[in-house]
């Protein structure tokens, strides 16, 4: 896999080589025409606090956009990992399930969560942020919002 290109936004690394779901803080990287890798973005991780435990639905499970594909337990949040797309789980990151810190340390690389086939190769990606400018604008606005609300440190 190619080296991830990162930009820094107010201290947070942001990869611009992939798509983002604005509400779930999941990134979606197209690895083949109908196959994606899914992970958490750094802002989702920051607002969850130190990650303690990740668990995923098993390979072969059906994915539905807006529905859980696993569970997260962290210092500030306990709840579902919500899928940004619909499809089928093809692989889960066992290393992240064993050591959730991996996702914290390398969210765009070895800390990925699951891989999936898409139920609709083009339609599933349409609701995601793709353009570098809109990703940066969204991330910056979210960051400011979280800081204003005190969810993350000023």
């Amino acid at each position: 896999m190619e080296r991830t290109e990162l930009v820094i936004v107010s201290g947070f690394a942001l990869a611009l080589d992939r798509r983002y779901h604005a509400e779930t803080h999941m990134w979606v990287l197209l690895t083949e025409p109908d196959r994606v890798r899914i992970g958490m973005d750094p802002l989702g991780i920051e607002t969850s606090g130190t990650l303690a435990q990740l668990s995923f639905d098993p390979v072969g499970s059906e994915l539905t956009a807006g529905r859980p594909f696993g569970q997260l337990e962290a210092a500030k949040f306990v709840g579902p990992l919500v899928s940004p797309v619909s499809g089928t789980v093809l692989a889960v990151n066992d290393a992240a399930a064993v050591d959730a810190g991996l996702t914290e340390r390398d969210p765009y690389g070895s800390g990925w969560l699951i891989e999936a086939s898409l139920s609709d190769a083009t339609g599933e990606l349409q609701g995601l942020l793709e353009n570098a400018a809109e990703i940066t604008t969204w991330f910056t606005a979210k960051l400011a919002d979280y800081r204003r609300m005190g969810v993350i440190a000023q």
Binding site: G49, T50, A52, Q53, P68, Q71, E73, A75, K76, F77, V78, G79, P80, M149, G150, A153, Q154
Partner: protein
């Protein structure tokens, strides 16, 4: 516990002393969500640290990790202005907490003047984690009108010394209880089960201490081993030990009020609340289910 109750199972003890209703509280220190339950207002009751991420004790079970999930009173800001901002964002109450001083208390004196205003002007509920208190702080808390004061009750000198790094004794904890009680404050004591590196040590003595005062609500916290602390790999106490302690707590009779503890809340190591039967009720961020950092 009476002789008759001694032969009852924990669920039977509960039914013998309480209505057949169980309330579940989602702690305000964390956002919780399950497939069955989503908080209607996750910011309803938020914890605020008056010391930011600083704590002079850095106890073995927490090492300031719990402070990370709290809002901070920032530089150039006071507790009232922070509360006003949170009120605008939908919060209805605050748990005022923070790191500890070297003497086991939370440095609250400078913030007490704001509590009354937060209650009267913003209409918010204010519950306080006070830790061990001086006579001055107990008086100030009473004058502030705080809706409740929470502190961990430690029943073993070894735990105070080894876990909290405090050169104090159980008598000092009891003195704080007395000071708060004498001021007529609503005391919501916490007992952390397994606090001494996962094993029971002073819990039953702590319960005895509490029954010496007029206390209507007791919070039992089951030790949650936190990543990055000396207790990270300590196994929490066994479920049967916890159940037995619950039975003991539900049977406890307050010698001060001659009434039983009306409510016993629990905060467990379990990350996900179980699906509640029809006779249970869920509540979010009441503050009663919140665990203390400084007071432990």
């Amino acid at each position: 516990m009476t002789t008759a109750e001694a032969s009852l199972s924990p669920p039977e003890v509960r039914r013998a002393n309480f209505p057949d209703v169980m309330d579940f509280y989602a702690p305000g220190l964390k956002r919780w969500q399950t497939s069955e339950w989503v908080p209607s207002n996750p910011r309803r009751f938020l914890p605020v640290s008056v010391t930011g991420s600083a704590c002079a004790l850095s106890c073995d079970h927490c090492q300031t990790k719990m402070l990370d999930s709290m809002m901070s009173v920032g530089a150039g800001q006071d507790l009232f202005s922070l509360a006003a901002r949170l009120r605008e964002q939908g919060s209805e109450g605050l748990l005022v907490s923070g790191g500890s001083t070297r003497t086991g208390g939370v440095p609250l004196l400078a913030h007490l003047a704001h509590i009354g205003r937060i209650r009267s002007e913003l209409g918010m509920k204010v519950v306080v984690h006070c830790g061990l208190v001086s006579p001055e702080l107990a008086a100030g808390l009473a004058a502030s009108g705080a809706d409740g004061v929470m502190l961990d009750i430690i029943g073993a000198d070894e735990t105070l010394r080894d876990v909290y790094h405090l050169n104090l004794t159980v008598e000092d904890v009891d003195r704080s209880l007395r000071l708060l009680s004498d001021r007529g404050l609503r005391i919501i004591p916490h007992i952390v089960l397994g606090l001494h590196y996962g094993r029971f040590l002073g819990e039953h003595r702590a319960l005895e201490m509490i029954t010496g005062y007029s206390v209507s609500t007791l919070v039992l916290v089951v030790l949650v081993p936190l990543a990055g602390t000396p207790m990270a790999h300590v196994p929490p106490p066994r479920a049967d030990q916890v159940a037995d302690f619950f039975a003991a707590a539900r049977s406890a009779r307050s010698s001060a009020s001659s009434t039983r503890l009306r409510s016993t809340s629990v905060l467990t190591a379990s990350p996900t609340p179980r699906t509640a039967p029809s006779s249970t009720r869920g509540r979010e961020g009441s503050g009663q289910g919140c665990s203390s950092t400084a007071a432990r």
